[in-house]
Symmetry: C2
Subunit: 332 residues, 2 copies
């Protein structure tokens, strides 16, 4: 109820105003919790690394494990997978893996929230690539925003098999122009030729049933590693009470530029999908794999014809001496 | 689509059967991840303990902080709070806290997933208690189930002010009989007098709009500390490959007893609510508190009459030199 929410929120504003606590103090303690959480992720990655290696070895022996897991994925992943994507994945996906690459590589001081998501494929009729890997860097912007940013990944589609209908290629093209530094059009904030082509394509495409593979085109905000490091340093100094230069607000040109980039984003929730894969699907893969079987066995009960050999809730094919406890609901 | 799910799940069963991997191997690696997760929780509690102390000091200065946070709670908490509960909470709740008591107490080897949730109240017209604290112990049962169990908490309602309409008192009564060991009725599995009274009350009560305070009556499965320790030891031995005695299946009497207890549970999702409070509301309290203000400020934009002094997205009362960055979306 909007009215109730409005009441509560103005009550909150009042409560804060009437207290001796500033919004900044609240934001600061939240930042401390955030830092602690980041440290915990670092420890978690270290602790679970050998387990993931062990698990990968096990799962590599189960045919179609990852395609079947994707079929069972929760809505925030499943909603993006079209029937034609399913066909490709089920027939050709051989492996999926997530790597917190900024801390597993040589530079152990990187951000543990950055993830590389890798899909491995067998020979297939859609594209040449054996591996499609997309990296997401956790960055902090000058205005205080923080989150995942990425780069588009080129897929070498076979003839007439481009599931994105050419959209991904136009994103790659516009990105290459942007990276070359020669992307300026005659008027700043106005689209250059590559961007115009992409814009035209987007306008002509029903973005509703877009292929999952357009996710490889997600870019997000443009925040370089240097800008990020500077923003983090400044924030830390401010919290220590040191004097820091005021953030320069974005110029109108810069804002227009950012608006343009955001309008050309072909997969706006690409960062959310990355988080869903890295933090839900990847750790919970076995749970999703077996959950389907548990549900199926339970629904079989409704149709039981009184066959006493059926053990309710256990898996088909399980021998008597392999009685395993039901998988616990994992605290996530 | 049920058909699609059924196809996938039988495909999964087939995939597993055709592999050299057993369901037990999958369950074992899941258990190893579970153990790692428990260790991480232990580290997280240690790391964040001083931050929660610091935060509590800050929040104690903001009047009505916790009642306002509860008003903003996500659906899985909010759905249980009735209007009459709201009135009580808003006028009298002074503090809410969560304590992983099994590891913060002297015995540091306890389970970090056990939580004590404490509500503190000012003098109010509903009940005498200044503090209502409910403990949840993380236990493992002989059949492999694991999760939170609790005990009912007595509320000293003032005359004609019992928001649970007498239900909670009957739960307490039945529990006391159960704990005394004198709970056996003439026939095992049949309800004793206290249980009959509770059963009758439940039947006569519309359980739909039940007061949030009936949550204090949640009990869950009966799994003692001894049974839990034994089950955990046995599980560890089995995973090491040692020979362990077969689990004794429940007798029919024991099953009837458990069914009876489950039917007398006045708040079946009490463990889920505990988890929502301990793992979402408690860590995210400031986020929930300020989120309402952010949403309110944004919706104010729709009705802007061109007043240039309104800063979009910033909080009312915020002075110019207190420009704080927007609270980041915390990775949960």
């Amino acid at each position: 109820m909007a009215q109730e929410a409005a009441f509560t929120s103005s009550a909150m504003a009042t409560a804060l105003e009437n207290s001796s606590v500033s919004y900044e103090e609240l934001a600061d303690i939240e930042k401390e919790f955030d830092d602690a959480e980041t440290e915990i992720i670092r420890q978690q990655v270290a602790l679970t690394a050998p387990l993931y290696v062990k698990r990968a070895e096990l799962l590599s022996k189960i045919e179609n494990f990852w395609p079947l897991v994707l079929e069972q994925a929760p809505p925030d992943i499943d909603q993006f997978i079209q029937p034609s994507d399913s066909a490709l994945l089920l027939s050709s996906l051989t492996s999926l893996s997530v790597d917190n690459f900024e801390i597993t590589s040589a530079d152990k001081n990187g951000d543990p929230r950055s993830v590389a998501i890798k899909f491995e494929f067998a020979e297939n009729e859609y594209f040449e690539n054996k591996v499609l890997e997309k990296k997401f860097w956790y960055r902090t912007a000058a205005d205080g925003w923080s989150g995942l940013v990425s780069e588009p990944v080129k897929i070498n589609w076979k003839k007439d098999k481009d599931l994105t209908g050419g959209l991904l290629d136009l994103v790659i093209k516009a990105w290459e122009v942007e990276q070359s530094g020669k992307g300026a059009s005659s008027k700043k904030g106005e689209p250059n030729d590559a961007q115009k082509a992409l814009m035209k394509k987007i306008e002509g495409t029903g973005m509703g049933g877009l292929s999952f593979f357009s996710w490889f085109g997600f870019i997000g905000r443009r925040v370089t590693e240097e800008v990020s490091k500077e923003a983090i340093k400044r924030e830390a100094a401010r919290r220590k009470g040191e004097k820091v230069a005021e953030d320069e607000p974005m110029t109108e040109e810069q804002e227009d530029q950012e608006d343009l980039e955001m309008s050309l984003e072909i997969f706006p929730d690409g960062d959310d999908l990355a988080i869903a894969i890295a933090e839900d699907l990847w750790p919970g893969a076995i749970k999703y794999f077996t959950q389907a079987q548990e549900q199926d066995a339970l629904s079989d009960l409704d149709f039981e014809s009184g066959d006493e050999d059926d053990e309710a809730g256990s898996f088909q094919g399980l021998s008597d001496d392999d009685e395993a406890p039901p998988l616990k609901k994992m605290r996530s």
